[in-house]
Symmetry: C2
Subunit: 162 residues, 2 copies
C-alpha cells in the first residue's frame, strides 16, 4: 500500500499557499518552480484541490490559485481525501461467502465480516488522526521552529518572475 506522491505535493502547496497574503494568487508554474516539480502534473493535482473546495482558481493574467477557506478549517484529511480519494484502502470482497462449501450457510444475514470491521477500525484511527491536524496547526508549528520562513516564502513569490 503506497500513497500517490501527489499527496505530498498538495500538502506542501497548501501550506505554502497559507503563507502568501490573502487575496493574492499564486500560479501553478510558480509553485512547480518553487518545489522543482513537473508543472503540468502539479497543475492536475491542484485542480483536484479546487474540485474539493479547498483551493480557488482565478483564470487570466494575474490569476492563479489560493486557499478557498481559512487554514484553520482545512484539515490534512481534507487534502489527502481530495487527492487520494475517499474510498477506504481495504475493500472487503466477502470472500468468506464466495466459497463453494456453503460453510457459512445461513449465517450470512446480518453477520458482518469481523476482519472488515477490524480493518475499518484501523483506518478510522488513521483518518481521525489526520482530521485532528489542521493546516493552521501545522503552520503554527512551522512558525515556531522557523520564524523567518513565512516571510521569506512570501517574498520569494513576490519577487519571482510570473
Amino acid at each position: 500500500m503506497k500513497m500517490g506522491r501527489g499527496v505530498e505535493w498538495a500538502l506542501h502547496c497548501c501550506l505554502t499557499l497559507s503563507f502568501v497574503e490573502p487575496g493574492s494568487s499564486v500560479t501553478a508554474d510558480q509553485l512547480a518552480a518553487f518545489f522543482d516539480l513537473p508543472r503540468a502534473y502539479l497543475h492536475k493535482q491542484i485542480q483536484l484541490l479546487v474540485r474539493a473546495g479547498i483551493a480557488t482558481s482565478v483564470p487570466g493574467p494575474g490569476g492563479g490559485y489560493s486557499l478557498a477557506r481559512p487554514p484553520g478549517s482545512i484539515s490534512l484529511m481534507d487534502i489527502v481525501a481530495a487527492i487520494d480519494g475517499e474510498e477506504p484502502a481495504f475493500r472487503c470482497m466477502e470472500i468468506r461467502s464466495r466459497g463453494p462449501s456453503g460453510t457459512l450457510g445461513d449465517t450470512g444475514t446480518g453477520a458482518a465480516c469481523l476482519i472488515d470491521q477490524a480493518m475499518r477500525r484501523a483506518e478510522l484511527a488513521w483518518r481521525r488522526e489526520l482530521a485532528s491536524q489542521s493546516l493552521a496547526s501545522i503552520r503554527e508549528q512551522v512558525e515556531r521552529r522557523l520564524p523567518a520562513l513565512p516571510d521569506r516564502t512570501r517574498r520569494w513569490f513576490i519577487e519571482s518572475p510570473r
Copy 2:
C-alpha cells in the same frame, strides 16, 4: 491509496488456519477452493506469510501450510506487513528543500519535515490499532457469534478431497 487484495485473502486464510487442528496441514489448493480464489496467486501470497515467519510449509504428499505460531502471538499488523510490505504509505521526498530558491537555506539541518511527522503519526495510529488485534481475538469474536463455524470449517477440510 488502495491495499492489495492479497491482504484480505491472507487474513481470511490465517483465520481459517487457526481453526484447523494444530499439527495438521492444509494445502493452498484447498484454501483456494474454500474461498473460490485463483490457486496459483493465493499460493504466492501464502509464501509471503511463510517468509515472514507467520506460516510454515511442509512439502511433499500430505504436506501443506499451517500457522507457525499460536494465534495469540500473531497480530493483524503482522499479516498486513507480510503481504503489503513494511514501508510506510507516505514517503517524504523532501520536496521542500528541492526548490531552486533556497528558501529554507541553512534551516535544513535537524529541522524535520513537519508534514512528514504528521503523516507518520497518522500511520502509527493505524499500525497501533492493527497491532492491538491478534488473530486469537478475532477468532474469539467469531466463535461468540457463530459457534458452529470452526467445527464446520474443520470438517470441510477433512472431508474435502486433497
